[in-house]
Symmetry: C2
Subunit: 240 residues, 2 copies
């Protein structure tokens, strides 16, 4: 069968996945476009595929066909794709040697970029502070280019996490002044790097729990870098 | 006097500066908020200040007072500020030792981030390919955090530019494969680094004009980095 009405209960429920409240409730999220659907499939997170009627796709998983009108209704994009995927949210996995702690990043583009760079530079886990922008929003997922499926990510109170990992990990906070060049820390076995949010940086109570502080040397006309850039350069240096 | 009508010719002309066509015609652009207006003033690019009636500001330059309604009309922001500036566009200056050539970057946030990083890592000039997103749009200017006033930036056909600078500069193209680690090039005196656009990378005819190709080593699950991140890491390495 093909769903042709946007008033259908099943279609309305899928559409609700564009809202964080329902993603949290159903523990599911949406991806759009061939690349992301394939990445979700390969990684085992895909629950079902939504296809535009009359199109074919190289994969099959609980396929749901919809009309053009319904596809447009379900999509968050101006140029909607003929394929979407409904995915299960990621589950927490064990921490390895390189952790990135994000203290409430607000911009979806920044979060997506950071996830992409974390995979590029061999970080194994990203832990999101509880006020971080939602990982499963359409903008974040697109900015990750599918790489969210290649890394362990979960949300947790960062102070609680730091207390848990502290005996085993060297916890590096970031601030513009009073730290040491980030290259200095790359020989530590187990590292937890903490990046702060766009406006305030790392919060003072978390900074107080860190073992050391890292910075990126730069010209003084520039007070700070974009947080996506700063996180990426630090992970790059710690991976070398 | 205070402008209170959005039908006033002067107000309508200022509003038009949100469109590239009029920015090009009048050779002016707008900035919003205290920080950007101050940066424009210090750098000598400020032509006049627009102030919300009843407010004061620490600087003065051909001040124009407007009502709340007019300020809201002139602003591109949801939360408009009580101060805006009308600025002269930047003029081309002489090239020094570290040039960044941007082959048609499309995303305003990426362009702003790259400008910010270029100042941070001591690049002196940014040359924008002719199809690059407009430097003077509200989004780009905000993403630069005012640092566009601290660096030489102009638009030009990049092939023409490379032909001009080629005898004196080592021109480094960027591509995902077939290059050498970017750190290898940092000892060249005069460098021109070319970054490509989000979808296609550096165009093939420009790549063919380069002296060498640089890349950033990364894990193979990740095919590429966000262009703002890639440009920043390369400039960081070339500045060390």
């Amino acid at each position: 069968m093909t769903y042709s009405s946007i008033d259908n209960k099943r279609i309305k429920d899928i559409k609700k996945l564009h809202q964080k409240k329902y993603r949290d409730e159903m523990n599911m999220f949406l991806v759009e476009g061939e690349h992301l659907v394939k990445e979700a499939y390969i990684s085992g997170y895909l629950d079902s595929i939504i296809l535009l009627e009359g199109t074919t796709f190289s994969l099959s998983k609980n396929d749901i066909y919809v009309t053009d009108k319904v596809m447009r209704y379900l999509s968050a994009l101006d140029n909607y794709q003929p394929v979407m995927g409904i995915c299960h949210k990621k589950e927490k996995k064990d921490l390895q040697n390189r952790l990135l702690l994000l203290d409430d990043i607000q911009d979806p583009g920044n979060l997506g970029t950071i996830i992409r760079s974390a995979v590029a530079f061999g970080f194994d886990s990203i832990i999101l502070g509880l006020k971080t922008t939602d990982l499963y929003s359409s903008k974040v997922i697109r900015a990750t280019q599918g790489l969210l499926f290649h890394i362990n990510i979960f949300s947790m109170d960062l102070k609680e996490l730091i207390r848990e990992i502290k005996p085993n990990y060297y916890v590096i906070g970031t601030r513009v002044d009073g730290g040491e060049e980030i290259t200095k820390f790359k020989n530590h076995d187990k590292i937890a790097l903490v990046m702060g949010n766009e406006g305030q940086g790392v919060s003072s109570d978390i900074l107080a729990m860190c073992d050391a502080y890292g910075y990126i040397p730069m010209r003084e006309q520039c007070e700070s870098l974009n947080v996506g850039v700063a996180a990426s350069i630090m992970m790059y240096e710690l991976s070398r």
